[in-house]
């Protein structure tokens, strides 16, 4: 319940950013790049925690996939912003995503065994759903640069496959 409201906050911030972005309610490319990179980095951090703590081989393997894949996409994102001479810009959306993820990670840190696996995989499903919606509804449509848009679209394809995989594992992880 608490988890859902945290992600709801993140989702709302993505749709209706606060007054800090007074000129436009849409994030600019520098902010979009920052949000996308942050979303990946947070999933990598969550994955590393799961690799260390999980006792379920399917969950561990999934966590390794998250670390590997998000690192690959983030490397591409870094190369692209360098090429485009764009400096990713911190913003309230990235901050709220980070805060929610940090809180979740601290929560998961207290768990172990099947309880950890359950909580981790459930959060991965929720997290990917949130980020996929943000990509579809805001980040991709609002991206101005074509190459950035294309990379975000590749990210969405990847995140969607990740979500499917997480959902499949969630069915088999012990209650």
């Amino acid at each position: 319940m608490f988890r859902e409201s945290l992600f709801a906050i993140a989702a709302i911030l993505l749709i209706a950013p606060p007054a800090a972005l007074a000129e436009s309610t849409k994030p600019n490319d520098a902010q979009i790049a920052h949000i996308a990179y942050t979303a990946g980095a947070l999933d990598i951090a969550a994955g590393k925690q799961a690799i260390a703590k999980s006792t379920d081989p399917k969950v561990k393997s999934f966590a390794e996939e998250m670390v590997r894949d998000h690192q690959a996409v983030n490397d591409k994102a870094l190369a692209l912003v360098k090429k485009l001479n764009v400096t990713p810009e911190d913003n309230p959306t990235s901050q709220s995503l980070t805060k929610a993820a940090d809180t979740k990670r601290a929560e998961l840190d207290k768990l172990s065994g099947a309880a950890f696996d359950r909580a981790y995989i459930d959060n991965e499903v929720a997290y990917h759903k949130t980020v996929n919606s943000a990509l579809k509804d805001t980040l991709i449509p609002d991206a101005q640069n074509g190459e950035l848009k294309a990379l975000l679209e590749q990210g969405l394809t990847l995140f969607t496959a990740h979500q499917m995989h997480a959902e499949e594992i969630a069915k088999s992880v012990a209650q």
Binding site: E65, R68, D69, A72, V73, K76, Q154, T157, L158, T160, A161, M164, H165, E168
Partner: protein, 111 residues
């Protein structure tokens, strides 16, 4: 009378007349976290060239263990179909990525 040299030349010629149609090579592209379509007329002896056009590392792994082709982004690898029957292929790194191959026997080859 057939000299030994003529005989040696004749053997490959005769073999050429009897040999079935050449084994085919099919390209299956991996892109956007998905395998391309399975080649519809796949036969024993045919080779599939798996081409990874995605930004991530994938694999083309037969669940039976018949082949396991690792594919870094931009790379390609081959697998030759050695047995007739269905072949379930998946990606070791992304197990929800799947494609089903159907390999026909060689009997149909010699037309």
């Amino acid at each position: 009378m057939v000299s030994s040299r003529n005989f040696l030349l004749a053997v490959p010629l005769l073999a050429g007349l009897c040999v079935p149609a050449e084994a085919a090579r099919y390209i299956v592209t991996i892109q956007g976290m998905a395998f391309g379509k399975a080649p519809p007329l796949l036969r024993v002896g045919d080779t599939i060239v798996w081409r990874n056009k995605d930004i991530l590392r994938h694999s083309a792994t037969a669940r039976s263990g018949a082949f396991d082709v690792d594919l870094a982004p931009g790379k390609e690898g081959e697998a030759t179909m050695k047995q007739a029957g269905p072949v379930d292929v998946f990606c070791r790194y992304h197990p929800t990525m799947e494609v089903k191959l159907m390999v026909a026997g060689t009997k149909g080859r010699t037309e």
